[in-house]
């Protein structure tokens, strides 16, 4: 490792612009002639639109256009789709209802976009939006997925009878039933994984610009995957052919999954720009974000685990109802299926598993992947189950886990995944040591003397990241491949640009990706630029989610670097009159091994472009492209320990320590990895203690601002104690597993296990607010 290479704790290259106020987010973009949009949204959770009158709005000052869904449909703009086909257990395809970017005759959740108003200023657009007259005939709404399939429940889409989108199975029901028939103990658990709002700090935004002379569109958008946005808007929504649509995702202020999807607003802004003849910018206010960003989680699950007399796990049965909201968002079907049930083996040897997932429409915001996406839900099931089982069986939760750990790799689970490498005991031991788990009883006693309840909880998580092998996901229903691309351009003076299909919205790619290049060629970080987020500059790519930018995105860069290195060595060998196989690259110089003959990197690059003296038949230039398709998922895993202290008089839970021991395989920049884990844990702790998206029975979102939805603040969290172990991933050239989601996946069960340990009471739903904890403490006689 050099001082800037792989493994170095390098400060981020991109920070300068952010700390000086020079970041460039969509809302910062100004295009000549640009106007501002406001959307008129449904105030009802479920209603028929009986009439829309825009005449008064059109007369308002500064207005350029007031456009409706009927006009949008007349221009051939397509419906928004879900890009992952799931088949029910009876073989029938999922029942997807139509989602028009602007509602035409029916609205299905509060926030459903109905009309766009374009005006000189944002204020004028909002004033005019107030003047749009929409008559609704209200319909009964259903909010709770566990009631949406009841007889007589309101029907949300004609395509989906009983609001059931699919009824999907994974694993083997017969083998699992057989395993349960042999059980000495069966542990049962009903749990709710609470609905969350991702809450990237930058609200979603879109700027659509139609250039009439060129018949060409540009869309600046808050996207984690601008190429996918272009593909989908072109191929499915009929906005424009790909060559006439440029999508730019500049600096993006956090995503956490919510900016993967293509939402109505970017489609409508592009269309409205052509319609009105002016560039159209829309920026969500925070309440619009709460109402319309894809929410996360929202599972109701019943699980049963069978153990033999020695407490070895025999089998697992899981039934989950997943609330997908009013419409199917882009990857909404994959999240509660292949990203969820495939992880229900956890870190454990489980001979038989059967999972059933019912995906259900409700009159709420669409639900899709949010940091972790399915894997936090699976981990919550598994790690609550193991803890509850240990308590019921009267054994140590550490010993019960250890006894059932997978220890031999590769390990084929009964639910598709084949774990390639790991050492779960190593993470467990590291976490136990760092948290002084053995000393907990003394701390509990000391707290009790102060009238406080102490609890400690474990969570041993596993996730499938590095998403994903294209053929594998294709066979499971994905509409796209999940490879990644890279182009490495060596300039004539030896500086380097890396064009990547990954997208950075906080992950530090401009630094870590440059560290790879530095490691390989010894070129200083300052001479390496990372280019991303613009479909006109970068070759097709798949973007950033599912902890894939390291394991997949960087692997593509490695492949391109291999090609550059091979050509560079050929050129150097020719210039040095040496054998190509004898050339080594050290500290920015190409050398003949064992001699003092060398050619500096920049001189080799110059030679590639002057082309005065290249090997016979070689093309000039030094630029290589690679596409990398992973051979397997990666399997980050680890162990988290949370220790809490509860004041039984107030129900306030204080996290007194939080320990994370993760195995991410090889790491490029430990500082950035730690930052990812910190942020993930904060979101997981937020889910466990503070956050929840709550609708009332009529479908009004009660938590639609920061006054109502409790975001984790600095004073809610402790400093975290982190460590990593390393079993390199055998599946990719860098041995990386990914670290972006682990914190959010591993932490919720650790927190709830700690609280229930303190209370001696298992019946506690997230978020464990002081009121609920106080009531649970009272119920447990504490």
């Amino acid at each position: 490792m050099g001082i800037e290479g792989i493994g170095a704790r390098v400060a981020r290259k991109e920070d300068k612009r952010f700390i000086t106020g020079a970041g460039r987010y969509v809302d910062d973009m100004v295009v000549p002639g640009m106007k501002h949009a406001a959307f008129v949204r449904s105030p009802h959770a479920h209603a028929e639109i009986t009439s829309i009158d825009v005449s008064a709005a059109q007369e308002m000052p500064g207005v350029y256009g007031v456009l409706t869904g009927k006009q949008l449909k007349a221009d051939g703009i397509g419906n928004i789709i879900c890009g992952w086909m799931i088949h029910s257990k009876d073989g029938s395809p999922m029942k997807m209802g139509a989602w028009s970017p602007l509602a035409v005759d029916r609205v299905r959740y509060v926030g459903d976009a109905v009309v766009i108003v374009v005006a000189d200023t944002k204020g004028q657009a909002r004033d005019a939006a107030e003047k749009v007259e929409i008559s609704y005939k209200e319909l009964p709404a259903v909010i709770d997925a566990s009631k949406a399939m009841d007889a007589g429940a309101p029907q949300i889409h004609p395509e989906a009878e009983n609001n059931l989108i699919f009824d999907w199975d994974l694993g083997n029901a017969d083998e699992t039933a057989a395993a349960f028939s042999q059980a000495a103990h069966v542990v049962k658990l009903d749990i709710i994984n609470n609905r969350l709002v991702p809450n990237a700090m930058e609200p979603r935004a879109a700027l659509g610009h139609y250039d009439k002379a060129e018949d060409h569109y540009t869309c600046w958008t808050t996207s984690q995957n601008p190429h996918v946005a272009r593909l989908v808007m072109s191929a499915f929504y009929n906005v424009a052919p790909e060559n006439k649509l440029r999508v730019i995702a500049p600096d993006v202020g956090g995503g956490f999954g919510s900016k993967i999807y293509i939402y109505p607003e970017e489609i409508v802004c592009l269309w409205a720009s052509k319609k009105t003849g002016v560039p159209v910018k829309w920026v969500a206010d925070r309440t619009e974000s709460f109402l319309t960003d894809a929410h996360g989680r929202d599972h109701h699950t019943h699980a049963e685990m069978a153990f033999d007399k020695d407490h070895k796990i025999l089998g697992l049965k899981v039934e989950t109802k997943a609330n997908l909201g009013a419409y199917m968002s882009l990857f909404s079907s994959a999240t509660p299926t292949y990203l969820y049930a495939t992880l229900l083996s956890g870190q454990y040897n489980i001979p038989a598993i059967h999972a059933n997932v019912k995906a259900i429409y409700t009159n709420t915001a669409p639900v899709d992947a949010y940091r972790g996406a399915g894997r936090p839900e699976a981990t919550f099931v598994m790690e609550r189950m193991l803890e509850v089982a240990a308590r019921q069986l009267g054994v140590s939760p550490v010993d019960l886990r250890r006894k059932n750990f997978v220890t031999v790799f590769p390990h084929q689970t009964p639910v598709i995944m084949c774990y390639d490498a790991g050492d779960y005991a190593a993470s467990l031991d590291a976490a136990l040591k760092a948290s002084d788990y053995a000393g907990f009883p003394q701390r509990k006693e000391a707290a009790a003397r102060e009238g406080k309840l102490r609890g400690i909880g474990l969570s041993c998580y596993i996730e499938a990241c590095g998403i994903a092998p294209s053929a594998a996901v294709g066979s499971l229903g994905a509409g796209v491949g999940l490879w990644e691309s890279a182009e490495v351009r060596v300039n004539a003076v030896g500086t380097i640009e890396v064009l990547t299909g990954s997208h950075s919205h906080g992950q530090g790619h401009e630094t870590t990706f440059a560290q790879l290049v530095n490691e390989r060629f010894g070129v200083p970080l300052d001479s390496v630029s990372i280019v991303h987020g613009d479909t006109d500059k970068v070759q097709m790519g798949m973007g950033t989610y599912g902890s894939r930018s390291g394991a997949v995105g960087m692997s593509a860069i490695v492949k391109a670097l291999d090609k550059v290195e091979a050509k560079a060595k050929k050129i150097a060998a020719h210039l040095l009159e040496a054998d190509e196989g004898d050339i080594v690259i050290e500290n920015g110089t190409l050398k003949v091994a064992g001699t003092d003959k060398n050619v500096p990197w920049f001189q080799m690059a110059l030679a590639a472009y002057t082309a005065h003296n290249l090997p016979g038949g070689m093309e000039p230039g030094l630029k290589e492209t690679a596409f990398y398709d992973p051979s397997n998922f990666t399997f980050p895993a680890g162990c988290y320990v949370c220790e809490v202290e509860i004041d039984p008089d107030t129900g306030v839970t204080k996290i007194v320590q939080f320990v994370a021991a993760d195995d991410f395989g090889n790491i490029i920049n430990p500082m950035i990895v730690e930052g990812q884990v910190h942020g993930g844990i904060a979101q997981g702790v937020g889910q466990a203690l503070l956050e929840g998206a709550f609708y009332d029975d009529t479908g009004q979102l009660l938590t639609a601002s920061y006054m109502d939805y409790t975001m984790p603040r600095a004073s809610d969290l402790p400093s975290f104690q982190l460590s990593t172990s390393n079993t390199p991933c055998p599946g990719n050239p860098l041995g990386m597993k990914g670290c972006g989601e682990a914190g959010a996946i591993g932490s919720p069960p650790a927190v709830i296990n700690a609280i229930t340990d303190a209370l001696g009471h298992e019946n506690l739903t997230m978020p464990a607010t002081p009121q609920k904890v106080w009531a649970a403490a009272r119920a447990a006689g504490r």
């Binding site: 106020g21 460039r24 700090m201 950035i672 930052g675 942020g679 975001m711 600095a714």
Partner: protein
């Protein structure tokens, strides 16, 4: 319409703006100072914090006309010359930012916090005083570290100057 004039980052500026114009919109739209961000509509998130007459203020909570006659410093005007302000430098050194969206407000709030605590800061105080600033990326761990480090650096600098 309201006539407003103020000093922003050392420059006198004046304009006629709609009465309802918020200070943050005046800074962003009239002056093009887009480093100050809008993250919510309820004065909760703190992405819009600037200094008004030396105090940290959420610029989404102030009408531009109210700020007329004031001296404003935004994130763009915090550093003197080419050198980063010690709080900016500490955020970079300690990885106190990821997506960067909350960062300008965090840095402006932190600078004010450090100025109000010349005796120095501890972790509990920093966490308590960050009540008005939300970050979704960092879990605050490294923000707290950065502010403590900057406070240390600045009190050393002040001691040297004295």
């Amino acid at each position: 319409m309201s006539d407003v004039s103020m000093t922003v980052n050392g420059k006198r500026v004046s304009a006629a703006v709609e009465d309802r114009t918020l200070l943050v919109h005046f800074l962003r739209e009239n002056l093009g100072l887009t480093g100050t961000h809008v993250g919510c509509d309820t004065s909760q998130c703190g992405a819009c914090v600037v200094h008004v007459d030396g105090k940290a203020v959420k610029s989404c909570t102030m009408i531009a006309a109210q700020a007329s006659g004031s001296t404003i410093v935004t994130i763009e005007g915090l550093a003197e010359g080419a050198d980063l302000h010690p709080v900016q430098a500490a955020f970079k050194q300690h990885h106190g930012l990821q997506c960067g969206f909350c960062t300008p407000g965090m840095i402006m709030a932190a600078t004010d916090m450090i100025a109000r605590h010349p005796e120095g800061l501890d972790e509990a105080t920093v966490r308590h005083e960050l009540e008005g600033n939300i970050c979704r990326c960092t879990g605050y761990h490294n923000i707290v570290k950065a502010i403590l480090a900057a406070s240390e650096t600045m009190s050393k600098g002040a001691a040297k100057a004295a």
